[in-house]
């Protein structure tokens, strides 16, 4: 388990982290959300010693993270980088060696990952001649060459086409299934909802919400009710205490209800106004939780 414990970091007048505390569990994928400038990158960099917190600590399996621990981690930074002129196989193996693997183990791991990512025939090419998509896959291979116990990825989905997104999701699931802890940041909330068991939402350097995605949704204080009514005139909607209209178009109305508000009252009124063709009553989507959590 990776623990962020009260991380604080200030860059001059800017407070990047302000008592940031959360956990990332092994064998699970954790989505790390927050608006731009919330402190996600700073927190991730702190895991790798690229940022030294003013106070607080990052711990792995209960022990402060140091150079030795980091060699068993994998990191995909937001600013992607490779040696463009170095050969694919050599470069991957080099990063393996830097992670304390022996020369033969690193070479073997490089072959295995290139095979896994469909780059085996390109091992002797310089990285700069690879296509954009292949460069992205190669970049990812650098992060996992040492079969990390903890994989941290900063915006891994940005700039990927839908096929590459699928490959990435598959790979993250695979790595987590092998027992690694996976933490990644993203703005694509639908992806996070699909992929993650856990989510952490950070704003102004503090964690404003964290936990299992399904629990966060079901324990939310409100529900979303969507009713589609045919043949109802405008303004059919009665005032129901505890319900707020989120949107209304083409006879479809989305409302936010307090958790203890009975939705049947709304549905009854709708049935009187016209023919009800569809109803859905659900806990809020992750995107809605996110918006409410980071609202000023």
């Amino acid at each position: 388990m990776l623990e962020f414990d009260g991380l604080t970091k200030r860059f001059g007048p800017v407070i990047a982290l302000d008592g940031c505390t959360f956990r990332v569990h092994r064998g699970r994928i954790t989505g790390f959300l927050g608006p731009n400038g919330a402190g996600k990158t700073t927190a991730m960099r702190a895991v790798f010693g690229l940022v030294r917190p003013d106070s607080g600590q990052v711990r792995w399996r209960g022990r402060p993270v140091g150079h030795r621990e980091r060699l068993r981690f994998g990191y995909l930074p937001e600013e992607r980088g490779v040696y463009p002129k170095m050969r694919v196989g050599d470069q991957l193996s080099y990063f393996g060696r830097l992670s304390e693997m022996s020369g033969t183990a690193a070479d073997a791991a490089a072959d295995r990952w290139l095979e896994r990512l469909g780059l085996a025939e390109r091992a002797g090419d310089r990285v700069e001649v690879l296509s954009h998509g292949n460069q992205q896959r190669f970049q990812l291979s650098l992060a996992v060459i040492n079969d990390p116990e903890l994989l941290v990825l900063d915006e891994p989905f940005s700039g990927l086409d839908p096929l590459a997104v699928d490959t990435m999701m598959e790979l993250l699931r695979e790595v987590a299934a092998a027992g690694a802890a996976v933490l990644f940041s993203s703005h694509q909330l639908d992806l996070v909802e699909d992929l993650c068991e856990d989510v952490v939402i950070i704003d102004h350097g503090r964690v404003v919400m964290s936990g299992r995605v399904d629990e966060l949704r079901t324990t939310a204080e409100h529900r979303t009710l969507t009713v589609t009514v045919r043949g109802a005139g405008a303004g059919w909607l009665p005032d129901v205490p505890g319900a707020t209209v989120l949107s209304e178009s083409d006879g479809t109305v989305r409302l936010r209800l307090q958790r203890d508000t009975d939705p049947s009252e709304v549905i009854r009124v709708a049935g009187e106004a016209g023919e009800v063709t569809a109803v859905s009553y659900q806990p809020p989507e992750l995107s809605e939780l996110f918006r409410r959590a980071v609202q000023p």
């Binding site: 010693g49 992607r80 980088g81 490779v82 040696y83 463009p84 170095m86 830097l98």
Partner: protein, 396 residues
Amino acid sequence: MKSTRSVLLVARRELIERARSPAFIVSLAISVLVIGAVVVLPSLFAEGTRQVALIDAEATAMEDLVAAEADRAGVTVEVTHYADLAAAEAALEAGDLDVVVVADREIVWSAEPDSQLETAVESALFMANVQERAAELGLDPSAAAEMLAPADFTVRSLESVGSDIEARRLMAMVAMVLLFMAIAMYGAFVLTGVVEEKSSRVVEVLLARVTPRHLLAGKILGIGVLGLAQVAAIVAGAAVALRLTDDGAIEIPEISLGLVALLLLWFVLGFAFYSTAYGALGALASRTEDAQSATGPLTAVLIGGYFFVFITVAGEGSEWVVRLATLLPLTAPMAVPMRAATGELPVWEGATAVALMLIAIYGMIRFAGRMYTGAVLRTGAKVRIREALRASSDVE
């Protein structure tokens, strides 16, 4: 991981990737060829036997005089007799002759006189004249010859000078230029290496696995080994070329093993000092364009040091200025080998220079390590030195 292993891994990568690059292979080949050519060419073009033509002279007497004087002047001549001045001049113009001597009257050159040969033929003409006048005055030819025999005296200098002092000076100059070029060139390799890692953003991936200090140290070590190999190859190439062309025609000082070792030592010292500084300053820039302005002052110091050494040590510097250039770490890598090559470096000065250099390198590594650490992850605008030093505590 043991810190030495990561340093060595980084060094190994630098060495292999650079040694593989076509640019490096071409530059190594060119530098060895150039050095070889510089050594070999002069002896190829060195003139051997000079051709002297004599017109209507009392043949043998004049020929003997020319031969004797040429011998004294240290040139070998072959004398040919021409009956006709016009024919001799045509041969002179065609380059078949070096000089035409019209007995006791005239010396004809094709253009500029060849100074050694000029001495010989002028002396010969003078001797011929003197002998003629002695005969007119009724002097016995043998008495005249005795009177004109070269004086017997010895020459000595108060300071010991090798017979090859000029050649040694030349070699010292070459040594200084070689070290200056090697330090500047390999320092620039370190600089571009640092900037490339920053501009390609690979540095953040690296620093998740290697500490900044180890990364910089490995880079300097790898490039330094490559530089050392190149300097060694050049020196070896020069030594072989000298051996091959050593036909005794020109005076060549031996390249002693001691001098070679000294050159390599001072390459290591000078490179360690300057390249560390180059690496740290390179970290301030995110793009190659900024790298030039970030390291401009350092390059100015290096070039300034070169000219300072050139003017003072190679030229007419007073004793204390020369000593300053020898002991100052900025100029020592160029001044010390130069003075050692001419054989005028006292041991205590050499030893002190090495000690001071080591202290300077230690200080530079401490300083540069901090600067590099603070600056290498900051992308965007050029980082200021003070900012970098302050930010070094932001990184573990």
